[in-house]
Symmetry: C2
Subunit: 351 residues, 2 copies
DNA sequence: CAGTTTGGTGACAGGGCTGTCAAGTTCAGG
DNA sequence: CCTGAACTTGACAGCCCTGTCACCAAACTG
């Protein structure tokens, strides 16, 4: 086993590496004082701080991360761990996390996990990743958020982490999410208010726990509103193809539902394709709505009515939680969602 | 100016940090020998290597990156710099780069650039990013690939980089791409062979240089094939909305084109939406084809005929180029593309 | 006004690793 | 059996910071 078989020869980073010593010399202070200024430590007089800052600016000094993390015990790196769900979702989260990092002089490291491998192997892979990564904290996205082995390991090792949209044990650790139940309820009300009474809903994969929350919230609310006919359920699998399949299935029924709620946008797009295959117009013949307000919601025609969830903001919030230690709050913090009514839903045709 | 105003308190990384010294002791060799094994340096006897590797395995030792990069002058980090084009494209590249990093015990750092800010500010931002990042090398994606200020800076600082799909000065530095011209030519031939003679093509944004290569290759080839009628051109802007707009425009013409080539998948999806708005069936009434074979090509119905470009592979190749120093090849390395004929193209209706 | 606290600063010792160089070992050729 | 080249190994300094502790000055206390 060789830990590193290739390598870049020494690279001259930056031009003429300025070190803290240069700054100290120029400012006429000690090394430690420069360090204090850099780390915003207390007990630094304004005069000294000014001198040092001037010197830093003049020399265009940037502290060496490697040295910093060797000396201190922080790496100034946040790790983002994700599996491979929708690229849009991931990208948005990543953007949010990135911005929070940047704002705090942190760096973002990516670790991409492949969950298609056997469970055993996955665990080994995960643990090795985290061990090797030496990050100051991790942001976890679903479905990694619910990997108990991983969580146990992180906690046992004293590594901080924040989960985005965790499903299980929401109070176990800090988390960021939205109220999927309530969001789905809002969609139910929207369809109900439009006048729909024969409604279909597409399940997501069982492993994606938000999916079931959405399903539950939707069904429950329709029940409360007084829907008497049985709700039609089918499996949309959270994918375009799944949406086509489930959509066709549901549209073939007699009587046909007048509205279909797919619990994510990808499958909703699939449903719209199924409609077009069946020669049905959206929203005239069938209303279709999704969930997520992802990129694809505006890459279909008509534009999709969906639920906006602030994915990028969730990423930002997660990273911030990790960075500001002051607030060691446990439990899920819920962010605001809202209904985005676009063109794919309308009142059912008068019969 | 404070360089770091927040911070994580010292985190106990891993459990009971094993250091190289532990390994050396257990193996009964010197520190340096362990180092040699870890770095696969020459002049290490098989016996010694075996002892050390056994010790490493037993202790579950992982070298400390910070210390390594402080002592050596490598950071074991590859930076991926991107602007915000299509999330799908970016994600694929990222995945490829990530995998190459992982395979070489490197880490991937992300830096997201926002090119919507004024040019001046952008440059400052870019340079600061690169300086702060302290990476062993950077992978650049369009349009950053053609930012001469950035390239100059990197070269002046002796920082290695590889460009993905660079447009300008392809021989300036190592690069990875495909032959966009030839790929568009293949699409031209496909449509020609199907029997289309009245064809429209949608331009991409002028800033995206691959767009013009595709356009040129397409037009040129149709000319060579003997297309006599004038080709219809419109501006698709590489976006769904642009595709709808340009699509409607083109479809309103009389006589109507029988095939539309959008130079990326997003705008092709828009064209398909425009067809559906106009009550036209794809591919019966109009053939539509795109370019990229991105996620969206299979999130529309009918599935889109398009050109596959190995985006993930491009990312992998770029990172590998950065990592294996042996091959300091300059100039663009072209990867294979291929036509993906799906359901959105067919022979024109007999008139 | 002596006797404490507090605030501000610096000296110094590592942190875990790699580069350099020197020492020890092996083996071919004379 | 000796010499030098080539290989193998190790000692040690140093990469650039931060934590600890010690110091001195100023600002309190009763």
């Amino acid at each position: 086993m060789s830990l590193a078989s290739t390598g870049l020869a020494s690279t001259a980073h930056g031009i003429g590496h300025t070190t803290m010593e240069d700054v100290a010399k120029l400012a006429g202070v000690s090394l430690k004082s420069v360090s204090r200024v850099i780390n915003s430590e207390p007990h630094v007089s304004g005069k000294l701080r000014a001198k040092v800052e001037a010197a830093i600016a003049e020399l265009n000094y940037v502290p060496d991360t490697a040295a910093r993390s060797l000396a201190g015990s922080r790496t100034f790196i946040i790790g983002l761990l994700f599996d491979n769900p929708s690229p849009n979702y991931t990208m948005d989260i990543q953007k949010g996390v990135y911005e929070a990092c940047r704002a705090n002089q942190y760096h973002l490291r990516i670790d991409n996990v492949d969950s298609t491998v056997p469970r055993e192997q996955l665990e080994t892979q995960l643990l090795a990743l985290v061990r090797n990564s030496r990050c100051d904290g991790f942001v976890l996205t679903p479905p990694l958020t619910d990997d108990m082995v991983l969580l146990d390991f992180l906690e046992r090792s004293g590594i901080r982490y924040v989960r985005i949209a965790p499903a299980m044990q929401p109070d176990r650790s800090p988390g960021i999410g939205i109220d999927d139940r309530a969001a789905a309820a809002a969609m139910a009300r929207h369809l109900w208010d439009l006048g729909h009474r024969r409604i279909a809903v597409l399940r997501g994969p069982a492993s994606h726990s938000a999916a079931s929350l959405r399903l539950d919230g939707f069904i429950e609310t329709l029940g409360e509103l007084g829907l008497e006919q049985t709700l039609i359920e089918a499996d949309g699998g959270f994918s375009f193809d799944g949406g086509i399949r489930a959509g066709s299935e549901v549209l073939a029924m007699n009587p046909r539902p007048t509205a279909i709620f797919a619990t994510n946008d990808d499958s909703a797009a699939g449903v719209m394709a199924a409609c077009s295959q069946a020669g049905l117009k959206v929203p005239e013949d069938v209303s279709v709505c999704g969930f997520d307000d992802s990129w694809i919601a505006r890459s279909v025609w008509p534009y999709l009515t969906t639920v906006y969830q602030p994915v990028e903001e969730m990423g930002r919030a997660a990273a911030s939680l990790l960075l500001r230690r002051d607030e060691p709050e446990h439990g899920l913090r819920l962010l605001d969602f809202h209904l985005v009514v676009r063109d794919s839903t309308a009142p059912p045709k008068a019969v």
